[in-house]
């Protein structure tokens, strides 16, 4: 069945042409690609502000002579960097971009359950993104991405309004995406694909979607309350009017802590796919990884108070939240151990996506372990709002979520565009990103331990933080070089990349059973054969041209209804 000369066939990329055939499409694959490029564009915007932060801190301006305008510019930079990277990059990165592309393929279906809603989500996303970008021109948004009142509601300019409105709309985009995935996974699995025959990426997306639909509405209403508080002084959060600013923090973190898992769970899902495929071995402890995703999703809802140990919340609450927080650490650790155990006695191929995968194990290791210091009450009070926290969450958000996103892009790139990117340039890019990332954030752990506070436009000389900042900026240059090179290697491949067979890596999940790139309705013959998603003996290597092919070719496959799930 597989035709090797895939690009000549009609596929979802060349089936129809013109702007509207993309903009008004309901094809999940095209929507996924549009999300992908939109997210990359936003990432460049957020990255620009990241560099602005780094350059300011490594001595562009002098502590003594820095003017109010320069401070405002810095405060704006860290706010925009945080808000763009969180709301416009990491949250939609894997679920909306990769998820949209991959989920229906993995399920062997033609599309998500509600294709028009899917398109609507994307259009909402665009509106939210436009509002965010508009914010940059309206005023000097300088609240931090957390929008804490009373600063945001009573002490800064109206750009908060567009930013909050943008985040609100993005929230609904995220809710509808999550809702779509939940229904798709529940109702559109092929009959033979039981829950425990589902690829782990789907488990991760499902757990993520649960958080998206349960937590995002709460941030929606909280941001709306900030909006009415700012425009009408409703009083709920404003101390002068009898309100309580700490109440907002509870609402905010009720969403924003689970949101951390919206960002990291899909990264873990990608990781599970990478590690199994590139070790050519069934993933170790499938069930515990699957259930750990759900456990993390559930626990994520009851730990938000650990962001507020010094906020003035009651001490009893702090103690309870500290204890609960450790409960999230256990399933996270289980996942890491399972990935490592999968490598044992595998056949490990160091492809570009796998290099990202292996980076994740180390980076998430550091990100996760440093989380222990922040879950522990006694130490968190000291580390709260220092660079230790900044370094910690970058290890999780960038080191794991973003590296997962990149690994996923390289892994599914053949499926998206029919070309494989696995060359020296892309490997060096990964290495540079890994080294640069550690150079950027390792010094921040040390600075944070020395008490270096966050969100400072400059540090006095006597504080002694200059060395850490300079090292960090140097690292960020290396990191940026790596990321630019990675993007470059992807772009170059679109022009003259190596043509990909249906299954270049040896994955067993269903998306590898259709040509690369897939036809408009995903599968030439439907539904495809469903087996154990990690039984690597189901495919065998047939050389560069044909890639991996099923051991039992499709024509000989038994009638679908007769397929017994293999143990």
């Amino acid at each position: 069945m597989p035709s090797t000369n895939t690009l000549d066939r009609t596929n979802y990329l060349n089936a129809t042409k013109g702007f509207m055939s993309w903009f008004w499409t309901i094809d999940h694959k095209r929507l996924g690609l549009m999300y992908l490029w939109s997210v990359i564009a936003c990432f460049i915007l957020g990255g620009f502000y990241a560099m602005k932060i780094r350059l300011t801190l490594s001595g562009d301006v002098d502590f003594a002579t820095q003017t109010a305008e320069q401070m405002n510019a810095y405060n704006n930079a860290f706010t925009v960097h945080g808000a763009v990277m969180i709301f416009l990059v990491i949250i939609p990165s894997i679920p909306a971009a990769l998820g949209n592309f991959v989920v229906p393929l993995m399920l062997g279906t033609k599309d998500v359950a509600f294709p028009k809603l899917n398109r609507f989500s994307y259009h909402l996303w665009i509106i939210g993104a436009v509002l965010f970008v508009a914010t940059l021109f309206i005023g000097n948004l300088d609240t931090g991405w957390t929008f804490y009142p009373p600063y945001s509601t009573g002490h800064t300019d109206p750009s908060v309004i567009t930013a909050v409105l943008g985040a609100f709309i993005l929230g609904f985009s995220s809710i509808f995406t999550g809702l779509n995935f939940i229904v798709t996974i529940h109702k559109m699995r092929p009959p033979e694909m039981t829950w425990f025959k589902m690829p782990l990426f789907l488990w991760a997306i499902y757990a993520t979607a649960l958080i998206q639909i349960l937590a995002t509405p709460v941030i929606g209403i909280s941001l709306l309350l900030i909006l009415v508080e700012k425009t009408m002084q409703i009083g709920i959060f404003t101390p002068e009017l009898g309100g309580d600013p700490v109440f907002f923090q509870h609402l905010f973190w009720f969403y924003s802590h689970p949101a951390v898992y919206i960002m990291i769970l899909p990264g873990m899902g990608v990781m599970s796919e990478l590690i199994a495929t590139f070790c050519r071995k069934s993933i170790f402890g499938y069930k515990s990884i699957a259930l750990a995703s759900i456990a993390i999703a559930i626990f994520s809802f009851i730990v938000w108070g650990h962001h507020m140990f010094v906020s003035g919340q009651s001490e009893l609450m702090s103690v309870i939240f500290s204890a609960l927080t450790f409960s999230v650490a256990v399933p996270s650790a289980i996942k890491v151990f399972n990935w490592i155990a999968t490598m044992y006695k595998g056949s490990i191929a160091f492809t570009t996506p796998m290099l990202y995968g292996m980076s994740i194990i180390w980076l998430f290791g550091i990100g996760g372990l440093t989380g222990l210091f922040l879950a522990t009450l006694g130490t968190d009070v000291y580390f709260h709002d220092t660079y230790f926290v900044v370094a910690h969450f970058h290890y999780v958000m960038v080191g794991s979520a973003l590296f997962g996103f990149l690994g996923g892009i390289f892994y599914w790139w053949p499926k998206m565009y029919g070309v494989v990117v696995d060359n020296m340039a892309s490997k060096i890019a990964c290495l540079l990103a890994f080294v640069g990332f550690n150079m950027t954030f390792m010094p921040q752990f040390i600075g944070g331990s020395k008490g270096m506070p966050r969100r400072y436009a400059a540090y006095g000389e006597s504080a002694g933080f200059d060395g850490y900042n300079e090292a960090s900026t140097l690292g960020s240059m290396v990191l940026m070089t790596g990321l630019v090179l990675a993007l470059g290697s992807l772009l170059v491949s679109l022009k003259n990349g190596k043509k990909s067979p249906a299954n270049p890596w040896g994955g067993v999940t269903l998306e590898w059973q259709t040509p690369s790139p897939p036809p408009e309705h995903n599968f030439e013959i439907d539904p495809p054969v469903v087996g154990d998603p990690y039984d690597m003996t189901l495919v065998e290597w047939k050389g560069e041209e044909e890639g991996f092919l099923p051991v039992n070719p499709r024509a000989d496959a038994p009638c679908v209804a007769d397929v017994k799930p293999s143990a």
């Binding site: 809603l117 809702l179 109702k187 559109m188 509405p217 009415v228 009083g235 709920i236 404003t238």
Partner: protein, 261 residues
């Protein structure tokens, strides 16, 4: 819901489907399509509940902290209006539920009638709500930061044309008169918080009623074209579920805001 009337469908997941008229290309069967829609709408309603939840939590916290403020504040609300609105919404829930039944049985005429009645009820609800709001703006029983609120921390700050409300406030039935300006300043300020929550909750609910009305008009237009019938009533069914939720939220709002004693 007793909407188990599933249309006949072929059970074959195999090759070459003959697609029924209302079946989208990516579903295998009408049953799958209906189930997916049902799960989708329930998941959406769950997010709606959570959307309101923050306001209910705000209500709970402030009421827990200042129970006497809330007891006192609810006297400013017009229980009769609230009760009338409750009846109007409950009735509309009944008509829309009947409408679903009509759609399933193919009674297009009755369906249209029920949709129109539901729409009228929703409009009536909004009219009554508008009267209540106007009254509050007139009297200055408003949220903490409004320029005309009579619940200022400092009674001397109350705008001149609101002062008489602040001095002698009569409730709707004339049972009692109170001088808001003589209340303890902190207490007065917290009354403003109550009204902040009141306006947020009822306002957000009102927006949902408006969205519901748009939905009804859309459904009515489709019903006019005769689109609905025994094999195609999903939209009516899901719209009705949404409307029941809007109704349900009001059922909570009414006692929580109006009937504190």
């Amino acid at each position: 819901m007793s909407t188990t009337t599933t249309p006949e469908h072929s059970d074959d997941h195999g090759h070459g489907h003959d697609h029924p008229e209302h079946l989208a290309h990516h579903f295998e069967s009408l049953e799958q399509q209906f189930d997916a829609g049902k799960l989708g709408i329930w998941a959406f309603l769950l997010t709606e509940v959570l959307f309101f939840s923050a306001l209910f939590v705000a209500y709970t916290i402030y009421r827990g902290n200042y129970p006497e403020v809330f007891r006192f504040a609810s006297q400013f609300l017009d229980t009769n209006m609230g009760a009338l609105n409750t009846i109007v919404l409950l009735f509309s829930s009944f008509t829309i539920a009947w409408g679903v039944r009509n759609a399933m049985l193919g009674q297009t005429g009755l369906l249209k009638m029920n949709l129109v009645i539901t729409l009228i009820c929703a409009g009536g609800f909004m009219m009554i709500k508008k009267m209540e709001y106007e009254h509050k703006f007139h009297e200055g029983t408003l949220w903490a930061g409004h320029e005309n609120t009579i619940f200022r921390l400092d009674p001397n700050d109350v705008p001149e044309d609101m002062k008489h409300h602040s001095t002698a406030w009569d409730n709707r039935n004339g049972d009692f008169t109170m001088a808001v300006k003589d209340l303890d300043p902190e207490f007065r300020q917290k009354l403003g918080i109550f009204f902040g929550i009141y306006f947020c909750l009822t306002g957000l609910h009102g927006i949902h009623v408006l969205i519901g009305m748009i939905l009804m008009v859309w459904l009515l237009m489709r019903a006019m074209k005769g689109e609905f019938g025994p094999t195609n009533f999903n939209a009516i069914d899901f719209g009705a579920l949404y409307w029941h939720l809007v109704d349900l939220i009001w059922i909570f709002l009414f006692p929580l805001l109006y009937l504190i004693s």
